[in-house]
């Protein structure tokens, strides 16, 4: 029963997308209803599935040997990631309808777009529910394959270049992850995700440095999707994709799959007891802290709004990895917090940027002067998401930063303290790159002529606004009352779920 449900939620989006190609819809609206219906159904099924709570590992196919098999399971981490994805997908789909209607260049292949857009949903859920490294690796590769067409969708020269880069980077990264997989097969008890790690004691004793090296390789391999420096340049470039893709995939689903895979790798495969205090931890912490500051600095420099947000994503993903690399349960709590909260915040600001593009054709920071008067709702929401990203207390960003910093200080690791400094520098830079947009929109200067703005610039319709308002509500509610979520994360990070 559980297994059936698992396979259903993974395959239903594929099936829906396939049907979409076959059925000829007379009206656009009915097609949209159909897409939304199966996405929503999938979300509800996922909720039902996740509500069943943790399951044992369920083997589906056995390959050669006892270790190699294809298996699924639900555990705390999977519930967190799967729940996040399942919540955001229908909202993003709803948002995408008016957005795709506005894509003016006419080269958008809408049916193909939705096929892959929803297929990604299934694949991402697959990653969340993978029971072992091999299964996750397969879904991980599949994720690359189903998302490339989304980046390439407009078929412009730029889009083709971007998707090629994305493709090569991802495949290269997966190759490194594959090395990690091989070594886990050789030196691990099993490939399954078991809290605390699967390496055999002998291997840990005899092959310590080799295994640490392999961990670093695998980390960086999965880190390509999580845009760790120096493998981050695909992410801003992939911003040529339509906003629903950049917002959902390049701020949440795809990039967080990378972070999620790293969590699995660190806490469930290699084990933090083995890694804590080693040179591998210190090296990776340095890289991650550098990425945190680097991403924000680039965001300040960038004037293209979506690329600016993409750089911000690079920095924020490294917050998550920073939490992971603290290698204590508290660190994982911080990482999980930021994984979920950043998802909400960043998708919100991306959607606002998308609304600016569809409603006002504003792609660059200097093009949004004075827009706030015409699009008060969008800019109000954008302001809230900016404040949340900066970490103003009362909004969700503060909570995750608090937990990250707390974990860093409690770990007693000197580099972690430096990392807190990095977080705060990055918070200041976040204030600069987010609020300068807000100020421009609200206060274009007293010489500004509002008559210059087109009359048809106004807030978008409810399909775009509804998800945004929900996100704003979520940011406030989590910011004020984070206890239930954090308690849940704590039990996940403690290995109890």
């Amino acid at each position: 029963m559980i297994l059936g449900l698992m396979l259903t939620v993974i395959l239903l989006p594929f099936a829906g997308g396939g049907l979409l190609q076959l059925i000829k819809f007379k009206e656009k609206r009915s097609k949209q209803c159909f897409i939304f219906a199966y996405v929503l159904a999938n979300t509800l099924l996922t909720y039902i599935l996740l509500a069943q709570g943790p399951t044992d590992i369920i083997r589906i196919i056995n390959f050669a040997g006892a270790k190699l098999n294809f298996s699924l399971k639900i555990d705390g981490m999977g519930i967190v990631f799967g729940g996040l994805v399942a919540t955001l997908w229908p909202l993003a789909t709803l948002y995408s309808f008016p957005y795709m209607e506005h894509e003016h260049n006419g080269r958008v292949h809408e049916n193909i777009f939705y096929l892959f857009y929803t297929a990604t949903y299934g694949v991402t859920l697959g990653i969340a529910m993978s029971g072992n490294m091999l299964t996750m690796y397969c879904f991980y590769e599949l994720l690359t394959l189903v998302t490339v067409p989304l980046v390439m969708n407009t078929l412009t020269h730029e889009a083709v270049l971007a998707s090629r880069k994305y493709f090569y980077y991802s495949l290269g990264g997966a190759a490194f992850a594959f090395i990690g997989l091989i070594f886990l097969i050789v030196y691990g008890d099993s490939l399954s995700f078991i809290f605390g790690g699967v390496l055999t004691p002998d291997a840990m004793r005899d092959k310590k440095d080799l295994l640490l090296f392999i961990y670093v390789l695998a980390f960086m391999g999965f880190g390509v999707k999580a845009a760790v420096c120096p493998f981050n340049s695909w992410l801003p470039q992939a911003g040529v994709a339509p906003t629903p893709v950049t917002a959902l995939l390049h701020a949440v689903a795809v990039v967080k799959s990378g972070a999620f895979a790293i969590m699995r790798l660190t806490y469930y495969s290699f084990g933090v007891d083995f890694l804590r205090g080693t040179w591998a931890q210190y090296l990776l912490l340095c890289i991650v802290i550098f990425t945190i500051v680097y991403g924000c600095s680039m965001a300040v420099k960038e004037t293209h709004i979506k690329r600016r947000l993409a750089f911000s994503t690079i920095s924020n993903l490294s917050y998550i990895l920073f939490g992971v690399l603290i290698m204590t349960p508290l660190g994982l709590v911080g990482a999980l917090c930021h994984m979920v909260f950043h998802g909400v915040m960043k998708i919100c600001s991306f959607f606002c940027a998308g609304a600016m593009i569809t409603q006002a054709h504003a792609n660059f920071v200097h093009e949004i002067d004075g827009m706030a008067r015409r699009m008060p709702k969008i800019f109000g929401i954008y302001t809230v998401s900016a404040l949340a990203l900066m970490g103003v207390p009362g909004l969700c960003g503060f909570v995750s930063k608090w937990h990250l910093a707390k974990a860093a200080f409690q770990s007693g690791n000197p580099l972690a303290v430096v990392g807190v400094g990095g977080l705060l520098v990055s918070a200041l830079l976040t204030a600069i790159y987010m609020l300068s947009i807000v100020i421009r929109a609200y206060f274009p200067g007293d010489q500004f002529d509002y008559g210059k703005l087109h009359d048809d610039i106004h807030d978008p319709d409810w399909r775009m606004l509804l998800p945004l308002f929900l996100f704003v509500g979520a940011m406030f509610v989590i910011g004020v009352h984070s206890a239930p979520l954090v308690d849940f994360f704590t039990s996940v990070a403690g290995g109890m779920l």
Binding site: V392, L424, F443, V480, V486
Partner: protein, 514 residues
């Protein structure tokens, strides 16, 4: 639960937002808007006074914000003192703005943020733990930013951005300290007792404010983190010091304060900057505890920074030609009097600092309102352009003179008392070198203060005006603008002549710290 404490915090914020989102057409004319804002000002102030009086109870624990740290309000004497000053200046500057703002656009927005800022400040005054304080501290920056940017000119926008980014830089430095100190918050086994019978969780720590310090500093030393702790506290001092215009992050203040409309400048320069002072007092005297800091490098560096700032501020004010900018530099200098006093970490200096908080708030808002009245009436901004106007506006200029004397510290005005205590505290402190450099710097700065404030008064009364013909059309400003200035001048004089009640109150706060 004493939910009444929330009223002066929440009500102005709600009314402010309601005003902000209301359509312009709701008010038939300017008069309608003024009626509504006037009533909201009065009600907000009354509620604040009600809480200050203590009738609303003294503790309120709301929801948990992060971990087991709740949003917690505690009304203590220090908070009452600051809140009292805020209410006084808020009302007077608000009253003043009813006429002043008639020349500005977007009046509704101005009043909205003015009200919101007031509510946030009340929250800051009554915050009972560090996290709540930090919460309102950030809100304070955000809520007061629109006051700076009000006229929307390029200059104002740049000033507001500078204000924002300096403030956030400071806030994040402080946040580092808070993150660090959280580990050492004392765990109350039974906080119900610790908080006098309010219901709280079984075991909790909350970084609350207790006179003399609430953190487990012994544990800091034990865990070998003493140096890191000093660094963290120093970062908090510098970070919160940004709002208090302390060197090296003071540059925003002389840019941001003068571009705001005059009543907002008065509020910013008299009150908002005190938010930084309050945060520093709470950190040093109510969380970390002075025993831990006394005699460390943190104290020495802090003193030196304060001395540098106070001399630099006075000198720059002396050189500045534009009246409002001159006053802003003067604020930089005077806030460092307060910081110098706080850095001495003894009762006399602490008393002097608190007195100076009160006196400077009243005097500086008086001076800014004076500047506003002049700018409103004459359209001029430079100091030397005001020559000869004193004959036409004697009441205004006499008020200015009294306020100036107060800031210089000439008896019988109020400033002399705070400076006396500050100097005494410095001498008592026994810090090598600084115990006499401090008073000398105070004296030098007082001379400079006389140099930058008095010429305006002297020239105003004695010198011939720039153009005789224009003089005839100037007269005393409207009562709405004159009265606040006169009241503030009178307060300066009265507090100098009858300082006893205030001194006893402040002395009580200082004594509790022992």
């Amino acid at each position: 639960m004493n939910y009444m404490i929330l009223l002066p915090v929440v009500l102005p914020v709600i009314v402010g937002f309601a005003l902000l989102f209301l359509h312009e057409g709701v008010f038939r004319d300017r008069r309608g808007l003024l009626k509504v804002t006037g009533v909201s000002f009065a009600v907000s102030a009354a509620l604040a006074l009600y809480v200050i009086s203590g009738a609303a109870g003294d503790r309120l624990i709301l929801f948990r914000l992060v971990d087991d740290i709740p949003v917690y309000f505690a009304v203590d004497d220090l908070g009452r003192l600051f809140a009292g000053v805020v209410v006084a200046v808020f009302l007077l500057a608000g009253f003043f703005s009813f006429v002043y703002m008639s020349h500005e656009k977007n009046e509704k927005r101005y009043y909205s943020f003015y009200l919101i800022t007031f509510g946030v400040l009340m929250g800051l005054c009554f915050a009972g733990n560090l996290v709540t304080l930090y919460l309102f501290y950030e809100f304070m920056t955000l809520a007061s930013m629109p006051l700076v940017i009000h006229n929307g000119s390029k200059e104002a926008v740049m000033a507001a951005l500078k204000y924002l980014f300096y403030s956030f830089c400071g806030a994040y430095m402080a946040l580092f300290g808070i993150y660090f100190l959280y580990r050492y918050a004392i765990v109350f086994e039974n906080p119900g007792d610790a908080l006098n019978g309010t219901h709280y969780y079984e075991i909790a720590h909350m970084m609350g404010f207790v006179p003399g310090g609430s953190l487990d500093m012994a544990a800091v030393v034990e865990s070998g983190n003493a140096t890191l702790c000093l660094v963290a506290v120093f970062l908090m001092l510098v970070g919160f010091g940004v709002k208090a215009g302390c060197f090296p992050l003071q540059a925003w203040l002389p840019t941001a304060h003068p571009v705001a409309p005059a009543p907002a400048s008065a509020f910013l320069s008299g009150i908002i900057v005190k938010g930084g002072i309050l945060a520093i007092i709470r950190t040093v005297y109510y969380c970390v505890g002075v025993d831990f800091l006394r005699g460390t490098w943190v104290q020495t560096v802090w003193c030196i920074l304060a001395v540098i700032t106070l001399l630099m501020g006075s000198s720059l004010a002396f050189k500045e030609k534009i009246l409002k900018k001159r006053l802003a530099y003067s604020t930089v200098s005077n806030l460092s009097y307060i910081l110098l006093g706080l850095s001495m970490m003894n009762a006399a200096a602490f008393t002097g600092s608190l007195l100076h908080v009160v006196f400077h708030a009243l005097i500086k808002s008086g001076l800014f309102l004076f500047a506003g009245a002049l700018i409103f009436g004459t359209g001029r901004v430079k100091v030397k352009e005001f020559a000869g106007l004193g004959k036409k506006m004697p009441v205004l200029f006499w008020s200015y003179t009294i306020c100036s004397l107060g800031l210089i510290g000439i008896p019988p005005t109020s400033g002399v008392i705070s400076k006396w205590y500050l100097a005494e505290g410095c001498l008592e402190s026994g810090i090598a070198g600084l115990s006499w450099i401090g008073p000398v710097a105070l004296l030098a700065s007082a001379l400079l203060t006389a140099g930058y404030l008095l010429p305006l008064a002297v020239n105003g009364f004695l010198k011939a005006p720039l153009d005789e013909e224009a003089l005839d059309k100037y007269r005393e400003p409207a009562p709405c603008m004159l009265v606040p200035v006169v009241v503030l001048a009178a307060a300066t004089l009265l507090l100098g002549v009858f300082p006893t009640p205030l001194m006893e109150f402040v002395g009580g706060i200082a004594a509790a710290l022992k």
